[in-house]
């Protein structure tokens, strides 16, 4: 605990970023008890109201309460961010480790990853979404496929340098099985760099979902996600900016916090950089 506090003191960006993320998780979990109403309840008489004591963030075109929608939207964003990071962790690590150890797999896998990486994230997701029914799961899968090459490359790169290290040779000499070498000796050494990368991926995934929903290619419009709320506010933004401002603020603060967290963690594992910044 003491060490943890010391760590936070030395890396204030981790503390600030982490605090904002925790706050957001709290808001998302406690949404039903924070003065919200049903985020999908229509109320035609209260359409496009400006922010007031009754509707803190105003209402949208169908009279739904923007405050409630933004708070419930945090759930969608967090689900997308964490799911994509988790899926990228599992598949990226597995593919990366195998690729780093098995030559012939490497040749094929890296060509595929190079190909995937040359398709810009949003477009790759658009292609996948266009061929499936819009759903939260499909959006998560699409973003994962777009982001996973970054993790594969990182894990493979670290693995390639590690496998030449004396301690790995020692483990092999001591009779450790290939799987034991991979998971006991190599994998733990990729964790630090992986944590940083996955933090960024979490942020990128949240941003990608919001962008996709905003252009109309994301989660179904019935789900209150920040991108969807902004998409609905698009037609009236000049006279009713509140439909865009509030989700935009939450989205920006979230991405900023996650990036600060990532930057801070990166500096903590690479002290050479930290001293400079």
């Amino acid at each position: 605990m003491r060490r943890f506090v010391d760590f936070l003191r030395r890396h204030p960006t981790v503390a600030v970023g982490g605090l904002i993320v925790l706050l957001l998780i709290g808001l998302a979990l406690l949404a039903p008890w924070l003065g919200t109403r049903d985020p999908t309840a229509l109320s035609p008489i209260h359409r496009t109201r400006n922010p007031s004591a009754q509707f803190w963030f105003g209402t949208d075109l169908l009279g739904r309460d923007v405050y409630s929608r933004v708070l419930y939207g945090a759930r969608i964003s967090l689900i997308v961010g964490f799911s994509v990071a988790a899926l990228c962790f599992v598949f990226g690590t597995l593919i990366g480790l195998v690729s780093g150890f098995v030559r012939w797999v490497d040749a094929i896998v890296m060509r595929i990853m190079d190909g995937l990486m040359s398709i810009p994230t949003i477009l790759l997701a658009i292609a996948l979404i266009a061929l499936t029914r819009a759903s939260l799961e499909n959006v998560i899968i699409a973003i994962t496929i777009a982001e996973v090459p970054r993790v594969v490359r990182l894990v493979r790169g670290v693995t390639l340098t590690l496998r030449e290290q004396p301690f790995v040779e020692a483990a092999v000499a001591a009779g450790a099985s290939p799987w034991r070498v991979i998971f006991r000796h190599v994998f733990p050494n990729t964790v630090a760099a992986l944590t940083v990368q996955l933090t960024y991926i979490c942020g990128l995934a949240i941003l990608a979902e919001a962008s996709l929903s905003f252009i109309g290619a994301g989660v179904p419009p019935s789900i209150p996600s920040w991108g969807n709320i902004m998409a609905e506010g698009r037609s009236l933004w000049q006279i009713k900016p509140h439909m865009i401002i509030f989700p935009a603020l939450f989205l920006s603060a979230t991405i900023l916090a996650i990036n600060m967290l990532g930057d801070g963690l990166r500096d903590s594992i690479d002290p050479r950089m930290a001293k400079r910044i």
Partner: protein, 313 residues
């Protein structure tokens, strides 16, 4: 150098092949019968059959992929399922605003980011460096469409200096055309500027701590010369690399920016195609953008020697 260039150009072929295979193969991974899926929920049997014929879905995969690939290489991207027009023509009509926007963003970003990044490195750990770095984190984190709306609100709605919607083609006047793209360019540039500023500062810091810089300083090289001729030149390779790989961000950002500012470009074409399940257009757009990305990074690779003649292959 020549042998390397040829080898490097050949290396892009498998990458583009994977992209093509992915974009084409996805169609077969669509749930159920792709023709039925693309036709939509209330399609007649005739419509489904028409789509099946248009896409050649009655043939085996390898055969139709081969034919499709040969057509692509010849510039034939197929026909739109919705309008029946050639995809290549539809893309050609929409390409100007998108590419102008991207080119303007590239120029503006480099022009802003490199001096700022150099300043930050030069004034390392002082107040201006800190402010620049904080600014970079912010502008890197703010989503393109959020920046877009903020700019449109201030300069379009409140100040009424610039248009916030639509696009005027070059043929109706160069300045008129550029004016419509100023705000979209600034919105799109925000992420890109942050990216280039950070890499410029980081590599310059690395370079400025080298012995030869101390030598140059000792023999009396002036500040400007030291920074731009001695340091920046040696730091250029990583910077150019990031400018190249950042083009992917630029493409994704352009699609979103076009929606904010209602620009009838390629991004809008692609997004409209999703809603109509017009897959040939999506295929065409992705192939084109990926080709652009691969091409830019090929050029970057080949330019390394221009920036650093010590590099040998």
């Amino acid at each position: 150098m020549f042998a390397y260039s040829v080898r490097r150009i050949l290396m892009t072929l498998p990458v583009m092949l994977v992209v093509a295979l992915f974009v084409y193969g996805l169609l077969d991974l669509a749930p159920g019968d792709p023709a039925v899926f693309l036709a939509g929920d209330d399609a007649t049997a005739d419509e489904i059959e028409r789509i099946r014929m248009t896409l050649g879905l009655d043939q085996p995969f390898v055969q139709r992929f081969g034919i499709w690939l040969v057509n692509i290489v010849q510039g034939d991207l197929g026909v739109s399922l919705f309008t029946g027009l050639a995809v290549s023509d539809m893309i050609a009509q929409r390409i100007a605003p998108t590419f102008t926007l991207m080119l303007m963003t590239l120029i503006v970003s480099v022009a802003i980011a490199i001096p700022i990044g150099a300043l930050a490195a030069w004034r390392h750990n002082r107040i201006d460096d800190r402010l620049i770095m904080v600014g970079a984190v912010f502008s890197f984190s703010l989503p393109t469409f959020v920046v877009g709306y903020a700019l449109a609100w201030v300069f379009g709605v409140e100040l009424r200096w610039l248009p916030i919607q639509g696009y005027v083609p070059f043929s109706e006047g160069v300045w008129k055309s550029i004016r419509t793209l100023i705000l979209p360019t600034l919105a799109l540039a925000s992420v890109y500027v942050a990216l280039i500023t950070r890499i410029t500062r980081a590599t310059l810091l690395e370079t400025l701590s080298q012995d030869y810089i101390r030598t140059a300083r000792a023999k009396g090289v002036g500040h400007r010369n030291l920074l731009f001729r001695h340091a920046l030149r040696n730091a250029s390779v990583p910077i150019v690399t990031v400018i190249g790989s950042g083009v992917a961000l630029l493409i994704s950002g352009a699609v979103v920016t076009e929606t904010v500012f209602s620009i009838p470009g390629l991004g809008r074409l692609t997004v409209d195609a999703i809603l109509r399940r017009d897959y040939p257009i999506i295929q065409g757009a992705i192939l084109l953008f990926s080709f652009l990305y691969v091409l830019v990074n090929l050029i970057v690779d080949l330019l390394y020697r221009v920036f650093d003649p010590r590099i040998t292959y």
